[in-house]
């Protein structure tokens, strides 16, 4: 269900007006709802039902129709949550039919617990709405993006308090992204071979030159990639040496004697 995004990163926030009123049965897209409470609350609110006097027969039927129409799309655990709520509703409906005072039906309205949960959930959802608007405002304000270079200070560094074992455990615990990322590799119209020839040619003519000379700014990224690979390959073959004198500075290519 997209509404319950695995990573908590915003999916498009669903528009809950997908439930079209008037004609029965309702058409409900289950994945627009956070869960069974969200769906139930929606059924109640959109029909202007008094939450303290929920017509269980009607709401239960609508809820089941909504769920059953969507079961094939919902992931298993989410479907389970909706089915469990459907079962609860049916049980409540059955208990409403029993005369009060029976051992199975205590004096309290059988719906009371459900109403309490719905109201509690609804309030937290209102708080979530406040959080959402706070967040939206905060996202418009950007902090400083850069810490200026300062004279190096030899200071007692806080220890991160992690061991190599921790690091490796973290490495092994990384889940591969799913679905697998589609990497759009640029089809190289230039080859590394061509660039190697170019670099060799330049090296023959001057002892050093900058990487920028190799790749004019306007060039596309495949040129940069191919040139860089060419330089790395030649560095590996010990025909040249790469040097960068300052952070962000130009990359210099030196001919090896």
């Amino acid at each position: 269900m997209q509404g319950r995004d695995e990573r908590g990163i915003s999916p498009p926030i669903p528009d809950q007006s997908t439930l079209r009123e008037g004609s029965e049965p309702f058409v409900v897209e289950l994945d627009k709802f956070e869960g069974p409470l969200s769906l139930l609350l929606h059924l109640i609110r959109v029909q202007d039902i008094d939450i303290f006097d929920i017509p269980l027969a009607r709401v239960t039927r609508q809820f089941r129709e909504a769920v059953e129409g969507n079961l094939d799309q919902a992931p298993l655990d989410a479907a389970g949550e909706f089915l469990e709520m459907a079962a609860t509703l049916m049980k409540l409906k059955a208990r409403m039919l029993l005369p009060r005072g029976e051992p199975e039906a205590p004096d309290e309205d059988p719906r009371a617990e459900l109403v309490r949960r719905l109201l509690e959930y609804e309030r937290f959802r209102q708080v979530a709405g406040v959080l959402a608007s706070q967040e939206a405002d905060r996202r418009l304000r950007f902090g400083r993006g850069w810490t200026p270079p300062r004279p190096p200070v030899r200071r007692e560094r806080p220890t991160p308090g992690a061991t190599l074992g921790d690091l490796l455990a973290a490495a092994l615990g990384i889940r591969d992204p799913d679905p697998p990322l589609a990497h759009h590799l640029p089809r190289l119209r230039v080859t590394v071979e061509q660039k190697i020839d170019l670099v060799k040619d330049l090296l023959g003519r001057s002892k050093r030159f900058s990487f920028n000379q190799l790749v004019p700014r306007a060039r596309k990224r495949e040129h940069v990639a191919a040139s860089l690979l060419a330089c790395l390959e030649l560095a590996r073959r010990r025909l040249l040496r790469l040097e960068q004198t300052a952070p962000f500075g130009s990359l210099w290519i030196f001919r090896r004697p």
């Binding site: 319950r4 695995e6 908590g8 007006s17 708080v127 979530a128 608007s133 706070q134 950007f142 400083r144």
Partner: protein
């Protein structure tokens, strides 16, 4: 190295706020130099705030959590968002927002209690929120397996631009949305926040 005399409290405070990427508290700021005490820092902050307003700088003094930070004006967001080198903050999913709302007001709370309120499984969302340091494990509960208990984490207030939890309405104080119909739903977080 000698501390040059020429730096005014405003300049020191301003420099610190600029160099820091996180909010700084007044007591932290006052530790930068013996000439600074809490009152001096407060008036320096106030002076900077007025300066930035009067000169219509692109940034303002913002107040977050219990500290201060220089932040760009919201009106600039459309320009800044175009640049990849400007780190943008991603919006949380509704699942994450709902879980945070519950955790903020019921902390410390275990996963089971959270799931009772929300009616759905929350394991994945908890992991995400921990990663984002919006919540943290604050202890262990009683009972079988001594379940982990969660509370709001170090970045919670900062993420939402809040000074304290008191800036949020307590769920108990919210009106019961009796017969509210669809608008109440929209208000309650169903609509995208912009």
């Amino acid at each position: 190295m000698d501390i040059p005399e020429a730096m005014t409290p405003e300049q020191i405070v301003e420099g610190l706020l600029f160099a820091s990427q996180t909010p700084l508290r007044v007591d932290e700021l006052s530790q930068a130099h013996e000439s600074l005490d809490v009152d001096t820092v407060h008036s320096a902050l106030e002076k900077l705030r007025k300066d930035y307003d009067r000169e219509e700088r692109a940034f303002q003094i913002g107040r977050l959590a219990d500290g201060y930070q220089v932040l760009t004006r919201p009106e600039l967001a459309p320009y800044l968002e175009k640049f990849e080198s400007v780190p943008t903050r991603r919006a949380l999913s509704r699942a994450a927002l709902e879980s945070l709302a519950v955790i903020a007001f019921r902390q410390p709370i275990g996963r089971i209690q959270l799931e009772e309120v929300r009616g759905v499984s929350c394991a994945t969302v908890l992991r995400t929120l921990i990663d984002l340091e919006l919540i943290e494990v604050t202890g262990r509960g009683e009972g079988l397996g001594r379940p982990l208990l969660y509370g709001t984490g170090p970045l919670f207030l900062e993420h939402f631009g809040l000074r304290s939890l008191d800036d949020l309405p307590r769920p108990e104080d919210l009106p019961k949305a009796l017969g509210g119909g669809a608008e109440v739903l929209a208000e309650a977080g169903a609509a995208p926040p912009d």
